[in-house]
C-alpha cells in the first residue's frame, strides 16, 4: 500500500521541488534587485559610472534600435495596408500601426534587442570578473561589487529602456508611413490623423511602464547570472558562456511572460 502511495507522491514531490527552487530563485532575484536600487544613490561616484553605462547600454544601441524600428514599421505598414484595403479600410492604417507599436511591439522588440546587445555583455563582463577574482579583489578593497558594478547598470537600464522604446516608436510609425503612404499610396493626412487620434495617454503610459519593467527585469536577470556564475555547475570560461546563454534565454522568456501579464492588467 505504501509503495502505491509513494508512487503517487513521486511526481508531486518533484513538482514541489521545482516550485520551491523557482520561488527561491525569484526571491533571490528580487533581493538582488532591491539591493542594486538601494545602492544606485550611494554617493556622487555613482553618477559618473551611470553616465558611462548609459553611453554603452543606451547611446551605442541607438543605431540598432533605429534600424529594427524602421523595418518593423515598414513591414507593419505594408501588411496592414494589404489587409485593410481588402475591406476598403486603409484609412485605419495609422491606427493599426500606432497602436501595435506603442502598446506591444516597441517595448518588446526593444527589450529583446537590448538583451542581446547589452544584457549579454553585462553577464559576460560580470562573469569574467567573478572567475578572475576581480570581484573578490573589489570586496577585499571594501568596495561593494553590487554598488560598483551592478547599481550603475540598473540605473542606466531604467533610463535607457524607455527612451530607446520611444525612439523605436517614432521611427517605426515613420516606417509605416513610408511604405503605407509613400510606397502604396494611402492618404498621408488620414494616416497622421489616425495615428494621433488612436493614441491615448493610457497607451503611451502603458508602453512606457512596460519598457521600464523590461529594463528592470533584463538588467536584474543578466547581472544576477553573471554575479553568481561561480555557483553554477561549470566554473571557468565555460561557466561564463553558460551563464550568458541562460541570461539571454531567461530574459527573453520573462519579457514575453511579463508582457502578457502587463497587457492583461493595463488594457
Amino acid at each position: 500500500m505504501s509503495r502505491v502511495l509513494e508512487g503517487v507522491a513521486t511526481p508531486f514531490n518533484a513538482l514541489g521541488t521545482v516550485c520551491l527552487h523557482v520561488l527561491e530563485e525569484m526571491g533571490a532575484l528580487f533581493i538582488f534587485f532591491l539591493d542594486s536600487v538601494r545602492l544606485m544613490f550611494a554617493g556622487w561616484g555613482q553618477f559618473a559610472k551611470t553616465v558611462r553605462q548609459i553611453y554603452f547600454i543606451g547611446f551605442q544601441s541607438i543605431s540598432v534600435i533605429a534600424l529594427i524600428g524602421l523595418f518593423t514599421g515598414m513591414v507593419m505598414g505594408m501588411q496592414l495596408y494589404f489587409a485593410l484595403s481588402v475591406f476598403g479600410a486603409d484609412g485605419f492604417l495609422g491606427t493599426g500601426v500606432a497602436l501595435s507599436m506603442v502598446r506591444e511591439l516597441a517595448p518588446v522588440l526593444t527589450a529583446i534587442m537590448l538583451t542581446g546587445r547589452a544584457g549579454s555583455a553585462m553577464t559576460a563582463e560580470i562573469g569574467v570578473m567573478r572567475i578572475s577574482e576581480q570581484i573578490d579583489a573589489l570586496t577585499i578593497m571594501d568596495i561593494n561589487p553590487m554598488r560598483y558594478l551592478v547599481a550603475p547598470k540598473m540605473a542606466a537600464s531604467i533610463i535607457s529602456f524607455p527612451i530607446l522604446t520611444a525612439l523605436f516608436n517614432l521611427i517605426a510609425i515613420t516606417g509605416g508611413w513610408l511604405t503605407g503612404v509613400k510606397l502604396l499610396g494611402a492618404n498621408a493626412g488620414v494616416y497622421w490623423y489616425r495615428v494621433e487620434a488612436a493614441l491615448s495617454w493610457d497607451d503611451i503610459y502603458g508602453g512606457f511602464l512596460k519598457a521600464l519593467m523590461f529594463g528592470v527585469l533584463v538588467c536584474t536577470i543578466c547581472c544576477y547570472e553573471g554575479y553568481y556564475t561561480h555557483t553554477r555547475g561549470h566554473a571557468g570560461p565555460e561557466g561564463v558562456s553558460q551563464s550568458t546563454t541562460n541570461a539571454v534565454v531567461k530574459s527573453c522568456v520573462i519579457i514575453l511572460m511579463a508582457d502578457y501579464i502587463l497587457t492583461s492588467l493595463l488594457w
Binding site: 569574467v128 570578473m129 577574482e133 576581480q134 573578490d136 579583489a137 577585499i140 578593497m141 571594501d142 568596495i143
Partner: protein, 275 residues
C-alpha cells in the same frame, strides 16, 4: 612594541562546500612580523588566505585578527578592519577595464577625500616602488604576468595597510626582481609597523626574510615556528620540502613507449624529408 594586529586561527577547518582542504589548524601569526606560509602546490594556502579574508566561510573553527573574531564582527566594524588590510592575489586580480593608474588609485578614490593630484602622486610613488613607473597608462592585458603581480602589490600597498597578505608575490618573477621584492617587503617591515602574511614556494626568500614560518601539507598544519626551528626539523615530509628533494621511487615512471610517428595524420616524415 608593535601595534600591528596578530592573527589567531583556532581549530580552523577550511574547504569548499563542506569538503575540508586543510583541517584543524591552530596557528598564531604574530603581529608586526613577516610570516611565510609554505607548502606543496594545491595544499590549500590560497584557500586559507581566502578564509582569513572572509571571502569564504570556514567549515569549523574561528579566525581572530587583532583580537576580533572575523566572522562575528558586524558589517561596518569588519569594513574598518578590511580597509586596514592589503591583499595581493595569486594572479594580481587587477580590474581589466581600468588602466594601471586607475586600478591602483581605486581604493584611494573610494575611501579617502584626498585631492586628485595627491592621489596621482601616491599612485606614481607606489608603482615606482615595484618598478612599474613607466607603465602607468597601460591596461592589465598589456602587462606580463610578473608585471601584473607587481601592479597587484602596488594596489595592495596603496592604502598603507597594517596587515598585508601576499599570495606568491615572487612566482613568475626573475631572480633579480624576486630579490628586489624581498628587499622591498623587508624595508616596509622596517618602515611601517605592519603584519605580513606571505604565501610562497620560494625557499630562498623564506630563508632570507621570514620571521615566522607556517608549513601546510597533508591536509593540516605541519609546522609553525621560526626559520631556525624549521631547519632543525627531522620530519621526512618537511625535510624533503626543505632540501628540495623529489619523492623516492622504486619503480620507473616512464613506462609508456613513445608515440609511433607513422600514425600521425599529417605525414611529417615525408614532408620534412626525414628518412
Amino acid at each position: 612594541m608593535t601595534t600591528a594586529p596578530g592573527i589567531e586561527l583556532k581549530n580552523l577547518t577550511v574547504g569548499y562546500s563542506g569538503n575540508p582542504v586543510v583541517s584543524d589548524m591552530n596557528i598564531e601569526i604574530p603581529g608586526g612580523k613577516l610570516t611565510m606560509v609554505v607548502g606543496g602546490s594545491g595544499c590549500g594556502k590560497s584557500t586559507l588566505l581566502k578564509h582569513i579574508l572572509r571571502l569564504n566561510a570556514p567549515i569549523e573553527g574561528s579566525i581572530r585578527i587583532g583580537g576580533h573574531d572575523v566572522f562575528s564582527l558586524s558589517g561596518k566594524a569588519f569594513r574598518c578592519l578590511r580597509q586596514r588590510m592589503g591583499v595581493l592575489f595569486q594572479d594580481g586580480a587587477l580590474l581589466g577595464s581600468l588602466r594601471l593608474v586607475d586600478n591602483v588609485a581605486l581604493p584611494l578614490r573610494e575611501h579617502t577625500s584626498l585631492k586628485e593630484s595627491r592621489i596621482r602622486d601616491i599612485v606614481r610613488h607606489k608603482l615606482e616602488l615595484v618598478g612599474l613607473g613607466h607603465a602607468l597608462d597601460l591596461y592589465p592585458n598589456e602587462l606580463s604576468g610578473g608585471m601584473r603581480k607587481r601592479a597587484g602589490l602596488a594596489r595592495a600597498l596603496v592604502m598603507d595597510p597594517q596587515v598585508l597578505f601576499c599570495d606568491e608575490p615572487t612566482s613568475g618573477l626573475d631572480p633579480v626582481m624576486s630579490a628586489e621584492l624581498d628587499q622591498l617587503l623587508l624595508e616596509m617591515m622596517g618602515h611601517f609597523d605592519m603584519t605580513m602574511v606571505v604565501v610562497t614556494h620560494d625557499l630562498a626568500s623564506m630563508r632570507s626574510i621570514a620571521d615566522y614560518v607556517v608549513v601546510l601539507g597533508d591536509g593540516r598544519c605541519l609546522f609553525q615556528g621560526t626559520v631556525e626551528e624549521l631547519e632543525k626539523q627531522q620530519d621526512p615530509y618537511l625535510r624533503r620540502f626543505l632540501d628540495r628533494k623529489a619523492h623516492e621511487r622504486d619503480t620507473p615512471r616512464l613506462t609508456m613507449p613513445p608515440i609511433d610517428r607513422t600514425k600521425m595524420k599529417l605525414n611529417c616524415t615525408q614532408l620534412l624529408d626525414e628518412g
